[in-house]
Amino acid sequence: MSEWSPYMRGGVSRRSAGFLLACALVTLAAGCGKRGQQTIVVGSKNFTEQIVLAELFAQQIEAHSAMRVEREVNLGGTLLCHDALVSGKIDLYPEYTGTALLAVLKDPPENNPAKVFERVRSEYRARFGVEVLLPLGFNNSFAMVVRGDDAERLHLRSVSDIAPYAPKWRAGFGYEFIERPDGYRGWAAAYGVHFAAAPKILDLGLLYRALQDKQVDVVAGNTTDGVIESLHMVALADDRHFFPPYEAVPLVRRATLEAHPEVRATLEALAGKISEDDMRRMNYAVDGEHRELTDVVREFRKQKGL
């Protein structure tokens, strides 16, 4: 290691100057990249399934068109993806109909998948100039997850089964679950669940770790999380059908579809092709088996003849 320079007044401003310069260069590079008409930018949120789906979209477009695909994955959440899409920083990203309905459009919850899809499709078209393509085939809903040994010992199958134990339990939830209208408050009321203390609020990525380490007894994960099985945890059935549908759909800018009409057909070839099991398996291959993302997606496309 070279001589460590102390953080002096000048040191800080030099650092931020360097940071600004780096930002400027990145922006410049991105701008140059977009100058070529044949580039399309695929985005995703910051969790495995989204990155897998973005890679799938990207490979699909690369395989069936002459366009160059840029991957702008791991954007921090629905908000960032939505803003990036509407402002044209990205051309498409995978979203879930329920999330679009409740978090973006801020509509009241609705249980009929077809109604949710139609509403989201017409609103996105009118308000954002964004096309909602056909659902990919799986539903990624919230899932209440408990440790496997608890599930076995207490015979827990569905969410209703935990109500008697909840007063002695601690819960761990993500910010999204706490804030959303289809989240904690409504869920606790629908199932009559009362926990010992206010739920611990954690980042999504830390929930399963906290559950595994017995810091909490139940967490709100997602039905397609690959690690549920690998960590010997159990996702409880939503027996009162509280959660609205969260069908995965590609969202694409209308301007992009107009400039490259082949993108629609390419992506709609994926409609109905991904089952919940398929998705869980791919998530697990990446998260649990630490396999290369591009290989996992390539294998899936081969297997489905895409």
Binding site: Y7, R9, G77, L79, V104, K200, I201, L202, D203
Partner: protein, 210 residues
């Protein structure tokens, strides 16, 4: 609703979160100082040890905070879910500027002055306390100032492990797709950082004048 309206309407919670935020910063800075100052002094003149200690502090800086929280959850006493994990992680992040400036500041004191002090019959402890530390004070304080501002900024991540602070608004806003809520956390945090920077800057100057 603009961020300002949100801030005014939720001023009680913004205030409580700010107090929580300052508490987290104070606790982690106290730990970072308690470790960083003695360790920074101890590594002066021990090149191998210094490389090792500063190198470790460097590596800690590169660990993403969520990963660090993840490592800390299973650790008994200091880990778990809540403020203690956040404080440990933040203290680790604040350590580098304190360590490096303390050791550099003391190492850069003119050897002739140190020699003269020894010649006057001062013990090593007296040399440190009466000569080296006062002369190194500006560099030391600059390190503490940087560490404090840095700490106020990264304390927003404490909300990821249920420790509260102004980061709660940022995480909540991201989850709700609501910029006003994000800004209601980010702007007070930025204000705190600027205020701390100015206050410590003034303190630095008053020390230098003496």
């Amino acid at each position: 609703m603009t961020w300002y309206d949100f801030l005014v309407q939720n001023r009680a919670e913004v205030w409580a979160r700010s107090v929580e935020h300052i508490g987290l910063v104070a606790a982690s800075m106290a730990i970072a100082l308690a470790i960083g100052l003695p360790l920074g002094i101890a590594i002066v003149g021990r090149a191998a040890l210094r490389r090792w200690v500063i190198g470790t502090a460097n590596v800690v800086q590169t660990i993403p905070s969520l990963a660090l929280f993840g490592f800390l959850i299973p650790v008994p006493w200091i880990g778990g879910v809540g403020a203690s994990t956040a404080i440990v992680a933040l203290a680790l992040y604040a350590l580098l500027p304190i360590l490096s400036n303390t050791s550099t500041g003391i190492a850069e004191v003119d050897p002739a002055v140190v020699e003269a002090a020894r010649g006057m019959g001062m013990t090593p402890g007296q040399v440190l306390w009466h000569v080296q530390l006062p002369l190194a004070a500006p560099v030391l304080l600059a390190g503490i100032r940087v560490a404090t501002v840095l700490c106020i900024g990264i304390t927003t991540i404490a909300a990821a492990i249920g420790a509260g602070g102004l980061g709660v608004f940022i995480f909540r806003g991201v989850a709700m797709v609501n910029n006003s809520v994000i800004l209601a956390g980010a702007i007070p945090a930025a204000f705190l950082a600027i205020a701390a920077d100015v206050a410590l800057g003034l303190f630095e100057r008053s020390i230098a004048r003496r």
